[in-house]
């Protein structure tokens, strides 16, 4: 009962049966999964043994502390100066500094201008190519026409020669020997032999 009064717990807990397990909320804090119990309730005053204890005194000599302080100041001064110097250097000379970004912008504009000029040059070359292709097309057309004409002339010549040959053959065919006239033709040929072995003089006499 003293415990209940001290911790100011509700009286209903004491009335519960001893077999029942009661849940008492104890002040604690967590550090991740670990549970750190609260050591002393906040309404309990400070221990008498600790109440009137003097705070610890610094035994390091004052001159040493001042020397340490001056060294620290000097160090920080130098480090800050170095950091500022490096910062300015980075801003001036690095690619990500202000000057670097400005230079990159200028370069980008210059690149765009050059690309634009290149596009115009490409158009000019395309025009020249168009003219060249047109000329080539015209020349090819003329060439093809000439070839076709030449072929036509060759064909006409062939037909003309064939026609002449056929006419000659037709004329010769008209003088052909028929079967009933065969014997008569043979007898006629035998009666009139032709001797190709002959010579003629200047006056044409054989």
């Amino acid at each position: 009962e003293n415990i209940y009064k001290m911790l100011k717990l509700p009286s209903s807990i004491s009335q519960r049966s001893q077999n029942c397990v009661s849940l008492i909320f104890v002040r604690h804090k967590t550090w991740g999964k670990a549970v750190i119990p609260h050591k002393k309730p906040r309404w309990i005053p400070m221990a008498r043994s600790k109440m009137f204890v003097n705070p610890p005194t610094l035994l390091i000599p004052k001159e040493e502390l001042e020397h340490e302080e001056s060294l620290k100041v000097e160090y920080e001064r130098r480090m800050n100066a170095l950091a500022k110097y490096l910062h300015d250097d980075e801003a001036k000379f690095s690619d990500r500094g202000e000057a670097g970004l400005k230079e990159a912008e200028i370069e980008e504009q210059e690149h765009r201008r050059l690309v634009q000029e290149n596009e115009e040059e490409n158009k000019r070359v395309a025009e020249l190519r168009k003219i060249r292709l047109q000329k080539e097309f015209e020349q090819k057309k003329i060439q093809i026409q000439k070839e076709v004409q030449a072929q036509q002339e060759v064909e006409e010549e062939r037909i003309r020669k064939a026609d002449i040959y056929v006419r000659e053959q037709a004329e010769k065919f008209a003088n052909r020997i028929l079967k009933p006239d065969l014997e008569g033709a043979i007898l006629k040929a035998l009666d009139n032999p032709i001797d190709p072995e002959f010579a003629i003089d200047l006056h044409g006499h054989i």
Partner: protein
């Protein structure tokens, strides 16, 4: 030219390769050349460019990929692929190899001024005779070399060596 075999072996000499005016800008990553191999006159300039100038360009730009495509398109062209995935096309129909080179230098090559500055910077970097440790050289001053006059900040020089003494006229004073 002894031991120089093959067609036009001068193309493989370092003197020839180093005389390339085209140093591509850092933004150019890949260069492709489409041309036709035989016969067509309008592709003759590109054929000469590929034969005579492409080795020079590759020598000066070892980190740029250069690819050639033969007999794939009716007219020749060059494409440069940039680091921001953009492309620049060069229509080189009926152009000579010199014209093509000049065009590339003008559009995607570094200017002469930039090349000169880079040459000076590289000379300064590589010269071991330079001083100034702040700029990355080995020595900060001649005074740290053995046998030289020690640093005047440590050992003061004789007064009569100083320009100040000389110019202030102390050399005319009679020795006391």
């Amino acid at each position: 030219m002894p031991f120089m075999k093959g067609v036009a072996p001068i193309r493989r000499t370092t003197k020839y390769l180093a005389r390339c005016p085209l140093v591509l800008k850092p933004r150019v990553k890949v260069m492709t050349v489409n041309f036709n191999d035989k016969g067509e006159e309008h592709s003759e300039g590109v054929r000469d460019f590929v034969f005579w100038n492409l080795p020079q360009i590759q020598y000066k730009n070892p980190n740029v990929q250069i690819v050639t495509f033969k007999d794939m398109t009716p007219s020749p062209f060059i494409t440069c692929f940039m680091e921001d995935n953009s492309k620049v096309y060069f229509d080189v129909d009926s152009q000579t190899n010199k014209e093509i080179m000049d065009r590339l230098v003008k559009t995607v090559g570094k200017s002469k001024q930039v090349l000169e500055e880079e040459a000076i910077a590289s000379e300064a970097k590589s010269n071991p005779a330079n001083f100034n440790r702040r700029l990355g050289f080995e020595r900060h001053c001649i005074c740290e070399m053995p046998g030289q006059v020690p640093c005047p900040s440590v050992v003061p020089v004789p007064i009569h060596w100083r320009g100040k003494w000389w110019n202030q006229g102390h050399r005319y004073e009679e020795e006391e």
